[in-house]
Amino acid sequence: MMDLLYFAWVRERTGVPREKIETTAATVMDLVEELKARDENYALAFADLKSLRVSLDQELADFDAPLEGVREVAFFPPMTGG
């Protein structure tokens, strides 16, 4: 089981802030493809990867990073803190 979290406009597009999934996706990219195939909302949320960031267990990661052993994946736009 893996926790998926969405923030800011990614959350608004998927329609949920978090969910639990079972997946065999090997990398973040595989997971993204799996999510995009779900429905229009997810397809829209993940349409432009350049405007997305991903974290694995609360550490920023790349889209080709492996998912093995990862328990929490979050997708969000570039951060605007400060």
Partner: protein, 145 residues
């Protein structure tokens, strides 16, 4: 080193009272970020955050600043939730032996918090709501370090 991620406002005066008292502190710098209303139509700003990762990310940034500039003290407070024009969003404070170290460390903290701490700002105006876009200049600013 103190890191707070909170919805509540903070009292800058109160926070600074106990800050930078370590021996051999020659300089302290504080920075405070406030909600501006450039358009004159801003009703409020909603700051979304990633609980847990915020503290972890800020902790790593602050720890790097502390060692890199041999800080004698370091503090970050960042708020989330609904903030109105004039409200305090966040603050950093640094203490070091010399002024250049205290200034550089504070600017480093700010530059990294802008683009590497998981907060997202949404502006709600009378015309509607919009997520604040990350600026190229903010990403560019990281190259200095």
């Amino acid at each position: 080193m103190k890191i707070l991620v909170q919805a509540e406002d903070f009292d800058l005066a109160q926070v600074l009272k106990g800050f930078g008292k370590a021996p051999n502190t020659g300089a302290t710098v504080s920075f405070t970020g406030l909600v501006r209303d450039d358009s004159g139509t801003l009703e409020y700003m909603e700051i979304e955050h990633y609980p847990g990762m915020c503290e972890a990310a800020i902790g790593k940034i602050a720890e790097e600043a502390r060692t890199r500039w041999a800080l004698t003290d370091c503090l970050v407070i960042h708020r989330y939730g609904k903030l109105r024009p004039g409200d305090q969003i966040m603050m950093v404070a640094t203490a070091a032996r010399h002024r250049v170290e205290a200034f550089e460390a504070a600017e480093f903290l700010m530059d990294y918090l802008k683009s590497r701490a998981p907060f997202w700002k949404k502006e709600v105006t009378r015309e509607g709501a919009e997520w604040v876009a990350a600026k190229d200049a903010d990403e560019e600013a990281l190259k200095r370090w």
